[in-house]
Amino acid sequence: MGLLTFNSKEIPGTTEAIVTGSPEFSSRRVRYWDVVGEGEIVGQNGGRDIVVQHLFHDGFETPQDLAAGFRDLNKLIRQHGRLILIADVGDDTFNEPYNNCTFDRYERTPLPGQQAATPIKDYAQTLFDDNGEADGGWFILLTLYFRQLLVPA
């Protein structure tokens, strides 16, 4: 679906979905003894979570190649910067940057029908690279977790 770049580094593969929530705000709920209802004190908006479903592939011919890809991905963990998703949707190009993001973690996620989140090989050549060439390598579905610390108003 799209190309995912974080802190000027491309995360290889295909982004399936990106889910952004609303910014969270500071608040404290207060109750008073024997009084009905609840009050609150509200502060300013804080950050939000960004969750990305991402098929991680890059023509990894062997499981060792896939492991090397993970090592590169690990280098991006705890980095802070801009997350960009570029995707073609119909005739439009979707290009939305998310500034001030921290890459918190990722999880291996089972594909539909998979019992466990284990890598599989693209024997059926269903995955393609940026040039439209069939991937044919090892791949896995990942859930990437980012925290956007400052959400534009």
Binding site: V30, W33, V35, V36, G39, I41, V42, H80, N100, L150
Partner: protein, 633 residues
């Protein structure tokens, strides 16, 4: 119906520059030297990525001690200097926090010099002499304030020993006045916080509008050398039920503010009636932990004791040697002669004259049958026949020193001769001063361990010896009696404490009674005296004590929602009760007294303020009740 409060903007300025990366976690406001302003800060940018203050590449005790100001909405709630940093490090991370404080040295210099008006230079000059307002001098409280003011409009002190006479008043340019509380506080503020670098002093008009100006209140108040202004203000204000705090007028402008404890305009806490639907305009009391105590550290009757009463009289003395020595050869009574050396019992003969107030000399001579009777002087109180001491006379000489010819007492001897006047009429010479004795015998020493004198010259006083059986000596001096100046005041049963509970206050250094008895030979002489009777002042003081102590106490803490309050007046304000719940906090049987807000911690992370309240108590430095500080709840 209001169910929400918008948290106000909190802005932190470091070194005068707004610093969005610096967050104030809490700020403390307080009253007095024990709770000076303090704020806890964390340096962390909103994006956390860089710029966070962390335990890395730092010399821990060396950091930028910049000025810090914190604003809530449009109000400044803190000023201080970043004087400390605190670090917490564990497996989950490191947190470096900075403590901004206003310390005692931000209120000027320590007390060391006292400012006197110098009549020679006509300027106020600081000298390394004690600062004592209305000192105790010659057994009485004397005013020592000069009306000569300096550029700061503060009065200066007189050295009280220098201002006894009219020529001295003229030389020093003013007649000494009593220091009042506002004048003394104003003096301390400007004497120490002269430059007003960090905090402004009050005006004299502001102090006079608030503080009582009775000269009877401030007595022999000595300020401790080496103290800073905060502690000195506490010491002088607390006994009279007043406090002080720092108030923030605007960014960069702070001022000392004074308030009357327990009697400032009251505020209510808000908590709606049980079952009501919440409206945050009518409910703000989240938590409360308060204690009311009717008896602990309270009393409803008081006895104030001043110093022992002193009285001047003229006392006729008796011979302080046994009668069988009367016939001793006079040559053996000359000092340093062989007979004088070899017979110590002869050394008192014709030299030692005593009052015999304790009966030590009964039956040592036929004429001494019992101890001297002091009942006329002590009337209507009893006295104990015990040894005393002659003190300086209360009657004053023209130079304001005690009237006397031997250590402040006046010694005379009886001359039984008759002289013929110009009209041919013979009159008895009578009492003569010791100056009329011979030069080798008129030296007189006042005895230290009993009432008496000793002729300490080389020779015995032959003029007295010559009087034979008529020989007499008398002294005019002051003695201390066994009873003390005393005032009792009771307010029971008009008290929240149902029992009668009395308290004794020992105020010997503050209140005196010194009288000249009609038996003093100086009565009718026209000479001035240093007589004093502080009984009326003691009654004022006793009533003040009961104003402060015939109260129940309410102490504790409460938490209010939100952080926006009127911080210009919150410290020193009083809490009269909880509106909506019918709860009152009055602590006085006469009403009008409530617990005072003496501290506030603004918790920005919780968006609430913890307040501390207590009930006014006299400082207790003179009262046993004040020393019983322990809580017994």
């Amino acid at each position: 119906v209001s169910l929400r409060i918008e948290a106000p903007d909190v802005r932190v300025f470091v070194g005068g520059v707004e610093s969005p990366n610096v967050h104030c976690l809490n700020a403390t406001l307080g009253a007095g030297a024990q709770t000076l302003p303090r704020a806890l800060l964390e340096i962390q940018p909103p994006t956390r990525h860089t710029g966070r203050r962390r335990l890395l590449d730092m010399e821990f005790a060396s950091f930028n001690q910049a000025e810090v100001e914190v604003m809530v909405g449009g109000q400044v709630v803190h000023w201080g200097k970043a004087l400390a940093q605190a670090v917490n490090l564990d497996e989950s991370g490191d947190v470096v926090r900075v403590v901004s404080r206003m310390d005692e040295h931000h209120f000027g210099r320590q007390l060391y010099r006292t400012f006197f008006y110098d009549p020679l230079t006509r300027e106020t000059v600081g000298h390394a002499l004690p600062t004592v307002f209305n000192p105790d001098w010659d057994g009485r409280t004397v005013g020592n304030m000069s009306t000569q003011r300096d550029k700061a409009n503060k009065s200066s002190l007189f050295e009280h020993e220098s201002i006894e006479t009219l020529p001295a008043f003229s030389f020093h340019g003013s007649v000494p006045q009593y220091w009042t509380l506002p004048e003394a506080v104003y003096y301390l503020c400007f004497a120490l916080n002269t430059a007003q670098k960090y905090v402004l002093n009050p005006t004299l008009a502001e102090l006079k509008a608030l503080l009582p100006a009775s000269p009877a209140m401030l007595r022999n108040h000595e300020c401790r050398v080496g103290e800073y202004l905060p502690a000195l203000l506490d010491e002088i204000l607390a006994p009279f039920g007043y406090g002080w705090t720092v108030t923030y007028l605007s960014r960069g402008r702070r001022k000392l503010r004074f308030f009357q404890r327990s009697a400032s305009p009251p505020n209510d806490l808000h908590l709606q009636t049980p079952g009501a639907t919440l409206n945050m305009k009518n409910s703000n009391l989240e938590r409360m932990a308060m204690t009311a105590d009717a008896a602990n550290r309270s009393f409803n009757a008081v006895t104030v004791f001043g110093d022992h009463v002193q009285i001047e009289s003229t006392f006729e003395l008796v011979k302080g040697w046994e009668d069988d020595l009367d016939t001793t050869e006079h040559g053996d009574l000359t000092k340093n002669e062989e007979g004088w050396f070899d017979n110590p019992e002869r050394r008192n003969v014709w030299r030692k004259w005593v009052l015999n107030e304790a009966g030590d000399y009964n039956k040592t001579r036929p004429e001494i049958k019992k101890a001297y009777d002091l009942s006329a002087l002590a009337h209507p109180y009893p006295y104990l026949p015990r040894r005393r001491k002659f003190e300086s006379a209360i009657t004053l000489d023209s130079d304001k020193s005690p009237k006397g010819n031997a250590g402040g007492i006046y010694v005379e001897w009886w001359d039984n001769q008759f002289t013929e006047g110009a009209d041919g009429v013979e009159t008895q010479v009578g009492w003569r001063p010791i100056e009329d004795l011979g030069p080798e015998s008129r030296q007189v020493r006042v005895l230290e361990r009993e009432c008496g004198i000793f002729f300490d010259g080389v020779e015995i006083p032959y003029e007295i010896v010559a009087q034979g059986a008529n020989a007499k000596v008398r002294v005019t001096a002051t003695i201390e009696l066994d009873y003390r100046a005393e005032v009792q005041v009771t307010r029971w049963p008009a008290s929240l404490l149902k029992d009668l509970k009395e308290e004794i206050f020992d105020c010997a250094t503050k209140f005196k009674v010194r009288k000249r008895h009609f038996t003093s030979r100086w009565v009718g002489s026209g000479l001035e005296t240093s007589e004093v009777d502080n009984t009326a002042d003691m009654r004022v003081f006793a009533n003040q004590l009961l104003d402060g102590w015939n109260l129940a106490t309410i102490d504790g803490t409460f938490t209010l929602t939100g952080v926006e309050f009127d911080y210009l007046s919150v410290i020193g304000s009083t809490i009269s009760g909880i509106s909506g719940r019918g709860v009152g906090f009055n602590v006085s049987p006469r009403g009008g007294h409530w617990p005072t807000v003496v501290g506030a911690v603004i918790r920005f992370d919780q968006q609430c303020v913890d307040f501390t309240v207590d009930t006014f108590r006299e400082s207790g430095e003179v009262g046993a009740a004040g020393r019983r500080r322990e809580e017994r709840v």
